[in-house]
Every structure is written in structure tokens, then in C-alpha cells.
Amino acid sequence: MGDDAPVADDEATGVDREARRAVEAILMVAVDPVPANLLAQLLEVSTASIEEACANLADEFEAQRRGFALVRVGGGYRFQSHPDQAPWVERFVVDGQSSRLTAAALETLAIVAYKQPVSRAQLSAIRGVDVETVVRTLQQRGYIDEVTRDPGPGNAIMYGTTREFLERMGLDDIVQLPPLGDFVPGPEVVEALERGLRSDPEVEETVAMVADGSAEGTPADADGAAAPEG
């Protein structure tokens, strides 16, 4: 391996080269800024050394005149395009991106619209794939937003649609969405939605009760077959 790579060594920072590589890898795939203390915890080093390592990396990228930058923003670190590359990025955003929601994104938005409030884990379970990027895109565009927290363990963020979404659909209220009709969702969907409602995972009866109740039309998920709730 290129131990002779032209990169400054890091004796001074207290974080070895491998930890810096791990920071780079994590920040590269992170959707949101990653707090220094989270990185420190993951890599089992001190927060101070993470901060120092990130500062060094940022300087390094700047010195190499990369088209991207490592910045500290909103309490965390992230990679972003370099400010002086904005004209090219703008070009890409305007001309190089699809102008339509992908089928996957539209389906995710639709589930949020009809099943809100719904957590990302529930969306993932229903869609069968990770929805992080899609949720972020939808949230970024202002179509969905955090509306509450799951009262159960983990306090998962629950998403719902926004005023902006209603306006885009030409609706005054979410209940004006066309009803789903007599449609019965698949068992895996019911299960995914129920799972999010479990506040006490060890009590099986709770689940059974929810499942049972749903057949009768508890408000929690009967909305699927009826009108969506706001």
C-alpha cells in the first residue's frame, strides 16, 4: 500500500491514519452532518482528537484544491461541494437531474400521505428497502416533515405531509385525498405499521390487541382503508 503517499502524517493529532480514513469513509456516506462526539464514539477515540483530525483533513483538502470541502456545520461534519464550484453544481442541479420523482420516491411520499404519522423504520419495512435518501429528499423539498415522536422506545421521528404538499396537490386538507377504498394492505404492511405502535415490545398482548383492533377499525391504521388523517 502507498505508505509513501504524499500525505502529512498525523502523529501530532493523536488520531492515526486509519482513524482518519474511517472518518472520511463515514462522512462520505452520511446523509446529515455527523457530530464529532458520535464519530469519537464509533471510532473509540476522544472527541478532541476527532475535531483535530477533521480540521486537518479540511485543511488538507483545501490545500489540494479539491472540488469538495470538509466543513463543520450544524454541530457536525460533512463533505459538500466547494463553494467556488457552485456554478458547475448549479448547472448539474438544473440540467443534470431528473425532473420527476422516481417511482420509489412517489410511493414513499404516498405512504406518508395516507399513513401519517409514520417513522422511517416503518417506511423501510413497507418498502423493503432503505428509504433514508428518499425521506431526506422529500423533506428537503418540503413535502414531508417531522410531525411528532414515537412515544415508544427509541422515540423515532414520525413524518407527515406538509402544508406545501397540500398546496401542490391543490388540496385544503389531507382528508381530501381520494380514499383508498376497500383496499386491504398486505400482511407485511400491517405488521410494519403495528411494529411502530408497539410501545412495550415484551408484551405480546399489546400487539395482539392492536392487530385485533385494526380489524374493527381502530383509528391507528384503519385510515388505510378509509380517508387519510391530517
Binding site: M28, V29, A30, V31, R78, F79, Q80, S81, A86, V89, E90, V93, V94, Q97, S98, S99, R100, L101, A103, A105, L106, E107, T108, L109, A110, I111, A113, Y114, I126, R127, E132, T133, R136, T137, Q140, R141, Y143, F165, R168, M169, G170, L171, Q176, L177, P178, L180, F183, V184, P185, G186, P187, E188, V189, G224
Partner: protein, 257 residues
């Protein structure tokens, strides 16, 4: 002969057959079906969860084996004509071709698994555009109507299809023994004494003839018909037993023999 099914899973209908054959010494026509079934069921029980798909696929291969075995047994003798002989070879070649194809894609799938495993060590960057560029982004809800949202929701929440076995290559059993019994208690009393050949004159699928034969045996067991065969390979004569009432016959739901 006992067959040890030791491979942990058979993941395709031809896997088992492929496996048995590739373990050499096994010749298809010597394999005892019941021993495969027993071994396989034992294997399934060892699994934590019963995989319906796997179990069904196994049933399929068992069905194929049964089918091939019956073909060896039923045509029975040297009178099998050239076409039948040819058909059997053709069938065997088809099965061989399918086994080869199955093996080819099994091996290709191994490569895909390796590629996927290697690729899964890297996560793509999917962070997307920064907020400051959002105002430039194309309006992705352009042209999307509430009805589109509804359809998308229905698509996303639709029940996944239930698994069912494709039986297109297995001869459908069009009649049940119960149906055959019903037909016979209608026909035999009217005919008096009749040959089995006559009773099957308008049937041309072997399985239907077999089913009808089983129905005759069932009626015989219930004591409403008499059977006589004058000599080896002679015609079988079936007659209604005097005094027996068609209404006495227990209509069976399914043949349990």
C-alpha cells in the same frame, strides 16, 4: 436402498435431482422415493423455520421423479411402440437439457453472490444536493395529481403475491376417484356385465384410466361390484352385484390408498 440427503438446502426444483445424480451411484430409477421424502422431511424439521418455497420446490422435484417412475412402470411392456420409445428418449433429453441449464445458472448465481458481497463493502454517497441549491432543483411534483398519489400508495401497500406452485409440466389430474366412483355407479348397473376396456373406452389419459381402475377397486371393496378376469392379460369384467344399491356406496372424498 437408502438415500442420505445431507445437503443443507435444495434451492431449486432440480437441485435435489442434480445432487442425487451428481453423487454418482444413484440411478434415478433405483431411487426409493419414500426414502428421499423421509430424509428430506427430516432435513426440513431441522430448519428453524419451515421455508414454504423450499418445501414446495421439493414437492415439485418429487412429483417429477414420481412422474418419471410411473412412465417406466405404466407403459409396461415391449409393446410400447416406436413413438413412445422416441418420446421417452426425447423426454429424457429434455430433462437432461434442463438440468444442465439449471446447473449453468446456479454457477452463474454464485458469481453474482460474490460480486454483490464485494460491492456491499462500499456504501455509495447519496447525500444529494445542498440546501443552497434547492431553489434550482426541478419541480419534481410537476404534473403529479392526488390520484397519482393514491395509485402509488396502493402499489406500495399491495399484498405481495402468495406463493403457488407452477404445475404446468405435471399432468393435471382432471378427475378424482370420487368422480370416477360416481360415474361408475351410474354406468355399471345399467350395463350389467361390462369389460374394464369398455368402461375406459372414451378415456385417453393414462391417469384417468388409473383413477377409474382405482374406482373399480373401491366399489369392489365396498362389495357392490364383482370382478372377473378370465386369464392373465385377459379382459377384466366388471358386474354389478345383484341386490346392491348404488345408494349404499359411500362416496369417498379422496382415495387414501
Amino acid at each position: 436402498m437408502s438415500v442420505t440427503v445431507s445437503t443443507p438446502v435444495y434451492e431449486g426444483p432440480f437441485d435435489l435431482l442434480l445432487n442425487l445424480i451428481m453423487k454418482e451411484e444413484v440411478e434415478l430409477y433405483e431411487v426409493s422415493l419414500s426414502s428421499i421424502v423421509d430424509a428430506y422431511l427430516a432435513e426440513l424439521e431441522r430448519l428453524d423455520t419451515c421455508d414454504l418455497e423450499m418445501a414446495t420446490e421439493f414437492l415439485l422435484i418429487a412429483a417429477i421423479l414420481v412422474e418419471l417412475k410411473t412412465r417406466r412402470l405404466l407403459p409396461s411392456d415391449q409393446r410400447m411402440d416406436q413413438d413412445d420409445e422416441f418420446g421417452l428418449w426425447e423426454e429424457r433429453d429434455l430433462l437432461l437439457a434442463r438440468l444442465l441449464e439449471c446447473k449453468t445458472f446456479k454457477d452463474a448465481a454464485v458469481v453474482l453472490r460474490r460480486l454483490a458481497a464485494e460491492a456491499s463493502l462500499s456504501w455509495p454517497r447519496r447525500t444529494g444536493i445542498e440546501d443552497r441549491f434547492l431553489h434550482l432543483a426541478p419541480d419534481v411534483l410537476e404534473g403529479v395529481t392526488p390520484d397519482d398519489v393514491r395509485s402509488a400508495c396502493l402499489r406500495a401497500l399491495a399484498p405481495r403475491p402468495t406463493f403457488h406452485v407452477d404445475t404446468e409440466h405435471i399432468a393435471p389430474i382432471r378427475i378424482s376417484v370420487a368422480d370416477a366412483v360416481a360415474a361408475l355407479i351410474d354406468e355399471i348397473p345399467r350395463q350389467g356385465m361390462v369389460t374394464f376396456r369398455h368402461l375406459t373406452r372414451d378415456l385417453f389419459d393414462r391417469i384417468e384410466i388409473v383413477v377409474r381402475f382405482l374406482a373399480v377397486l373401491e366399489l369392489y371393496k365396498q362389495g357392490v361390484v364383482e370382478i372377473d378376469q378370465l386369464g392373465s392379460f385377459g379382459d377384466i369384467h366388471v358386474g354389478w352385484r345383484p341386490g346392491a344399491e348404488p345408494a349404499d356406496v359411500d362416496l369417498i372424498d379422496a382415495y387414501e390408498g
